[in-house]
């Protein structure tokens, strides 16, 4: 009789522990069995240790969230000015009113899923236009590497970056915010704070040179946005481009969560009720086809099948030229 496990004589559950151990040793004689590898942390029954520090001891001794972010992403505790800078930056970045992320969190929350799905949806909006931290870091790093290779100053390389982007008609990441056209209220303050706290390095300085080069090229100031300012500071604080991106996105995640909570606690599910005073997001009035629809006009659905008039066979495909049952020519 053929066994259920693909030709083996015994199911694994039918083997003794000893037999299984021997097979295991044979399989893994040249390779390690799988085990997790991380230099971030470990836990045992009674404690959690991050980069060598007991996490409870850390917080008991006054270290906070910002310190732990440095610890798990960089493996070091920050200097007080660095932690202060990160706190300032994330405090400023966290909330941005109704934006693609907050709106998405709210719309998903209106369907009443588990709330984590709502704020996850919010942060999933981050990418190429909304909070493009990764793209910004990529461009900054690419041009800074070029500056080093080609022996160019930051100013010279900023001029090259601006020229190349303008010629290619590509947006310069980190510049311009469609709503804060007179300058993102947080951006210059963040850059200034980085200088004040002594943490501004080559990324922040390069960002400033880009603003100056763009102003020179366009004849008017284009202001940095919070990605241009914040991401540059995160990179100067020593976070990798990916880590910087994650920290920014997750900081905004708290805002998405707050919006999702408010949506669930304050607004009606679905947002489509006829009973609310305000016509809501999904109200049918908002979707009145006279103002919202520009597709084809109403029309009859074509018949999917044809019927043979001779033998009565139905559900014949319209491309048939003759009835497959009686041979009658079909219209």
């Amino acid at each position: 009789m053929k066994s259920k496990n693909g030709g083996c004589k015994k199911l694994s559950s039918e083997r003794s522990f000893e037999e299984r151990r021997k097979i295991f040793e044979e399989i893994f004689k040249d390779r390690e069995p799988f085990h997790w590898r991380t230099n971030i942390s470990y836990k045992t029954v009674s404690k959690i240790v991050a980069k060598g520090y007991d996490t409870t001891e850390l917080v008991e001794k006054g270290y906070g969230f910002m310190d732990v972010l440095f610890l798990i992403f960089q493996g070091r505790l920050p200097k007080p000015n660095e932690a202060k800078m990160l706190d300032y930056l994330l405090g400023g970045f966290c909330e941005h009113a109704i934006s693609p992320s907050a709106a998405s969190a709210r719309i998903v929350a209106s369907g009443r899923p588990l709330i984590n799905a709502a704020f996850a949806a919010g942060i999933m909006t981050f990418g190429m236009a909304h909070g493009p931290g990764w793209s910004h870091a990529e461009i900054m790093t690419e041009y800074l590497n070029r500056a080093e290779k080609e022996g160019k100053t930051l100013k010279e390389m900023a001029e090259i970056l601006v020229k190349e982007h303008l010629e290619a008609k590509k947006p310069i990441m980190g510049i311009h915010q469609p709503q804060h056209v007179h300058g993102d209220p947080r951006a210059y303050a963040v850059i200034r704070k980085a200088f004040e706290l002594g943490v501004a390095g080559k990324y922040v300085q390069f960002q400033l040179e880009i603003i100056k080069a763009l102003e020179k090229a366009k004849g008017k100031r284009m202001h940095p946005n919070m990605v241009g300012a914040g991401d540059s500071v995160l990179l100067d604080l020593g976070f990798s481009p990916l880590a910087a991106w994650c920290i920014g996105v997750l900081a905004r995640g708290f805002s998405c969560a707050a919006h999702a909570v408010e949506e669930m606690e304050r607004e009606r599910a679905w947002r489509g009720s006829f009973k609310t005073k305000m016509a809501d997001l999904m109200s049918l009035e908002v979707q009145d086809p006279r103002i919202s629809y520009d597709g084809p006009p109403d029309r009859p659905v074509p018949e999917k099948y044809v019927k043979c008039q001779n033998c009565g066979a139905s559900e014949l495909l319209s491309e048939f030229k003759a009835c497959p049952y009686c041979g009658q020519k079909l219209k």
């Binding site: 007179h182 300058g183 209220p185 210059y188 303050a189 200088f195 400033l208 008017k220 100031r221």
Partner: protein, 117 residues
């Protein structure tokens, strides 16, 4: 009604405070800006922002302007005033420095009407 505005001129890279001033109104602040900086768009922009934000940071010629303003007015009302005067042409700041003075004076006169209410 007028409110105080404090401002520092700081070296962009060396963090050195070059000047430190306290003004008693937006008009006084504008007058100092106008005297200190040639660029009319910069002067008009910083004047406008000082009517709105508590913290105003901007830079020009390797120098930070770092101001704290107690005005904190409501932007939709202030923007309408700025557009009426011509300080803002659409959303662009005027290149006419005199518009900044007219705006600052009007803000000081009409402060109560320009708050969030």
């Amino acid at each position: 009604m007028v409110k105080p505005i404090t401002v520092k001129r700081i070296g962009m890279y060396d963090n050195k405070i070059k000047e430190n001033h306290k003004f008693n109104s937006l008009t006084e602040f504008y007058q100092w800006l106008s005297k200190s900086f040639e660029d009319p768009v910069f002067v008009n922009r910083v004047t406008y922002l000082a009517a709105l934000r508590w913290k105003v940071v901007d830079f020009i010629d390797d120098e930070w302007i770092d101001a704290i303003s107690e005005y904190r007015l409501f932007e939709p009302k202030v923007m309408a005033l700025a557009q009426k005067i011509g300080l803002l042409e659409g959303l662009e700041f005027s290149k006419d420095k005199a518009k900044g003075l007219e705006f600052a004076k009007k803000v000081d006169e009409q402060y109560q009407n320009l708050t969030f209410s």
